[in-house]
């Protein structure tokens, strides 16, 4: 898992330093779906025209096969699904984190298989983390993909740390 954190910090942005502490916690899973499953490199339509003509099927398995980095099965775990969910819905999640609640945030906790009690706690925890990040100058200059990656590392580390046993439980 240390390798995971180093890769993250080297390839992402200085803001990552703030998350290193929990990113280094051992999740018991060496897969970094953001990088190994090609999620960071995914391109999604971000305007009306592109969405209207896009027939892209956003599927983790096929992406991994395309990138030839992992087997499709490796990218079907809960944390890979969480990474994809965050990548796809980051703008919405960012807004709801700022507001403190919302259906996309609840959806994220569902993807992470969190228990009902852990959902609210994880959302509050994430909001606290993001409040710290948003106050840093580097946050505003980071791209959506970089901010999404940082959010994934934050919630993934929390799920394996503070909320171990309550999320990724099934």
């Amino acid at each position: 898992m240390k390798k995971f954190a180093k890769l993250s910090c080297a390839g992402v942005f200085a803001l990552c330093a703030a998350t290193t502490a929990f990113a280094q916690e051992d999740s018991g899973n060496d897969l970094n779906p953001w990088q190994d499953c090609g999620i960071g490199a995914m391109v999604f339509p971000d305007n009306q025209t592109a969405a209207a003509i896009s027939n892209v099927i956003w599927d983790l398995g096929s992406t991994a096969v395309t990138s030839k980095t992992m087997s499709p099965e490796s990218c079907e775990g809960d944390n890979a699904k969480t990474a994809l969910y965050i990548r796809m819905n980051y703008a919405r999640l960012e807004t709801e984190i700022a507001q403190g609640q919302g259906e996309y945030l609840l959806g994220m906790t569902d993807v992470m298989s969190c228990g009902e009690q852990a959902k609210a706690q994880l959302i509050a925890h994430t909001r606290q983390e993001m409040a710290t990040r948003m106050s840093q100058a580097t946050f505003a200059s980071a791209s959506d993909a970089e901010r999404a990656e940082a959010l994934f590392y934050a919630v993934d580390a929390a799920a394996h740390g503070e909320f171990a046993g309550q999320c990724y439980a099934s």
Partner: protein, 629 residues
């Protein structure tokens, strides 16, 4: 636990008794093959766009019989025999795994006479998910003018998963089934329309999670999404899910007006309905018509529709949140969005905390749909709004408007209008107007773009003094005023329109049809709390006949749409055009239309028209009854 047990039974079927197709009489086989459910299972829809008595399913390898695409009875015999066959090494290749809906239906019809070996259908299970869906909804994404293929809206099917014990499950993770045509991203728009109308595209079903669809429709295309949840038993849900799995291997020809997304998605649900949900007598299928029929559809005497829910687009959320604000809060939002200084956020310090939260939430919603680069017109950055907001207590501004009409509650899409009137040159006369679809500025439509017109095949015929004439045939008429109801800059845009067809050169001319292509662009605004919408447009037009109006016309116009009451709406317009290809003479014109009525089935309209033709002022007035179906 009951659901889990059912799921296990469904995926691993022990056999009970045996029967081969040869053991069944021809009468039994023919009865089964002509049953409406078997016809639906095998794709014999009998729609107008395919005149041959073949299945709609285009890929021959979908069928178990060599002749399955042409003969339902052959496919039935092959299916019965295949269901009774031994399990292959890969269970997924057994007919019971490939055609679980056929299996469910035949087991019911041939009770105790089908023997299926124990099977584990892993591919079906992977496709369906570990937990069997317990709810089915038809999803309607409202019309979108950014793509001709989306003018009338789009249908999806959604499978809902039950909540686990004490854990509420987000609907965003539900599976959705889409049916769409495959075409090149760089497809020429004209070819796209022609091929879409004539069935030149291959179409198939695809599966995505609901949050992926919501991202596209709510967030990117800014379309409201409506969830029509069906009132089904668990067995009926299983039957539809199994059928959707079967159809995931099917390919169809895509016809924009007929065998389209609305037809194909509804077809999956029709499997368990009493009768057809798609319109039987119309040669076109529109989502609004299907929803209207769905609202009245039944299954064994119970209503098929359980509930209707709206999921507003990001733009709708912004607008509805804006309406809820106090005037001072609305001004604060406008300052943040379009004020002259990037430090507008400092103004919020004068507001109470609750107000600040509402203002920030509304401004963030605005930034989410309008600020592509994350920077508002004022220079304020979206990220700064988020940073301000996250420092305040959690809460979320929500708006649920209960008074909105649902898509199935609007006027029916087709219109037949009968009018009588007076022409100051020809005297008394009559007009018959038929519009295949869909709505105009005066229509009582629901869940369509406000202050817009979308018409296909809109034709008017007149009789004056015993002489019949074709007055107008609009093949397509698309107008949108794109008004900003909030008055916030950037919410809304340019008004624009496009019309193409044939019409009389002017109201004085009879039997002088000319082809035309017309476009306009301008700006619209609203006042009196949205009761009045006014607009101004620049217009351009090309005619096929130079005799009266010339080949190329330019002009300008202005108009207003006013809601006088719930039952009365009027549209007045005035303008002129000039023949730039010849004498530059000015041709003024004016029109007043008004509608009375609140029914989805009829209305009464008056139409009065003024044109100046060859120096003569000419008037026409009509009073008509419109019937909607």
């Amino acid at each position: 636990m009951r659901l889990v047990l059912f799921a296990c039974c469904f995926l691993m079927w022990p056999g009970v008794a045996s029967a081969s197709a040869a053991a069944l009489s021809d009468i039994t086989l023919n009865d089964l093959a002509s049953n409406a459910t078997w016809q639906r299972l095998t794709g014999f829809s009998g729609r107008y766009s395919d005149f041959s008595p073949r299945s709609d399913i285009a890929n021959k390898d979908y069928f178990l019989s060599e002749n399955g695409r042409n003969a339902p009875v052959d496919e039935l015999i092959a299916t019965i025999d295949a269901l009774n066959a031994d399990a292959p090494e890969d269970h997924n290749e057994h007919a019971a795994c490939m055609f679980p809906a056929r299996r469910l239906w035949l087991e019911q019809k041939l009770a105790g006479r089908i023997k299926i070996p124990p099977l584990t259908c892993t591919e079906f299970k992977d496709w369906r998910g570990d937990v069997a869906p317990n709810e089915i909804s038809i999803i309607f994404a409202s019309g979108f003018l950014g793509n001709p293929g989306s003018f009338f809206g789009h249908f999806l099917l959604k499978f809902g998963i039950p909540d686990e014990a004490n854990i509420t499950r987000s609907e965003l993770l539900d599976t959705t089934i889409n049916h769409g045509a495959s075409y090149a991203e760089a497809e020429n728009q004209l070819l796209y329309i022609i091929r879409g109308l004539t069935g030149r595209y291959e179409a198939s079903y695809t599966k995505l999670l609901f949050h992926q669809q919501r991202r596209r429709y709510n967030e990117l295309e800014l379309r409201d999404v409506w969830v029509y949840t069906l009132n089904l038993t668990q067995r009926e849900v299983d039957f539809v899910v199994a059928f959707a799995w079967e159809r995931s291997r099917a390919h169809h020809r895509y016809y924009f007006f007929d065998q389209n997304c609305a037809f194909r998605i509804t077809e999956l649900v029709e499997l368990i309905a009493d009768g057809k949900i798609t319109p039987k007598r119309k040669p076109w299928i529109l989502p609004s018509d299907v929803l209207s029929r769905l609202a009245h559809a039944q299954k064994n005497g119970r209503a098929l529709l359980r509930s209707v829910e709206r999921l507003p687009s990001r733009q709708t959320l912004f607008r509805e949140a804006f309406y809820e604000l106090e005037p001072a809060e609305q001004e604060a939002v406008k300052l943040i969005v379009s004020g002259r200084r990037a430090d507008q956020l400092e103004e919020l310090e004068d507001l109470p905390e609750e107000s600040t939260i509402r203002v920030l939430d509304t401004a963030i919603n605005y930034a989410d749909f309008s600020a592509d680069d994350g920077v508002l017109q004022s220079g304020v950055k979206r990220i700064d709004l988020l940073a301000e907001r996250i420092a305040l207590p959690p809460s979320q501004t929500t708006s649920k408007r209960a008074d909105l009409k649902k898509p199935h509650q609007g006027q029916k899409s087709s219109m037949l209008q009968l009018s009588s009137g007076y022409h100051d040159t020809f005297g008394a006369g009559a007009r018959i107007r038929f519009r295949a679809a869909y709505y105009d500025y005066l229509s009582m439509s629901a869940a369509v773009l406000p202050n817009s017109e979308l018409a296909f095949l809109d034709a008017s015929f007149e009789v004056y003094d015993g002489n019949f004439s074709v007055q107008r045939i609009d093949f397509v008429n698309l107008q949108t005023l794109n008004v900003s109801p909030t008055g916030v800059p950037g919410d809304g845009g340019l008004a624009w329109g496009f019309r193409m067809g044939f019409e009389e050169e002017n109201i004085l001319c009879r039997n002088c049809l000319q082809g035309f292509l017309e476009g306009n662009v301008g700006k619209a605004a609203q006042s009196f709390s949205g009761q009045l919408t006014q607009y101004a447009l620049l217009q351009g037009r090309v005619n096929t006949n130079a005799d009266t109006n010339g080949i190329v016309n330019l002009g300008a116009g202005a108009g207003a749409i006013i809601d006088l009451s719930k039952a009365v709406r009027a549209h007045a317009s005035i303008g002129f055009y000039t023949d730039v290809s010849d004498d530059l003479a000015l041709y003024p014109h004016a029109k007043l239309d008004a509608r009375y009525g609140v029914s989805d089935a009829w209305d009464i309209r008056i139409t009065s028209t003024y044109e100046r033709v060859d120096g003569e002022d000419t008037f026409q007035a009509l009073l008509g009854v419109g019937l909607y179906f």
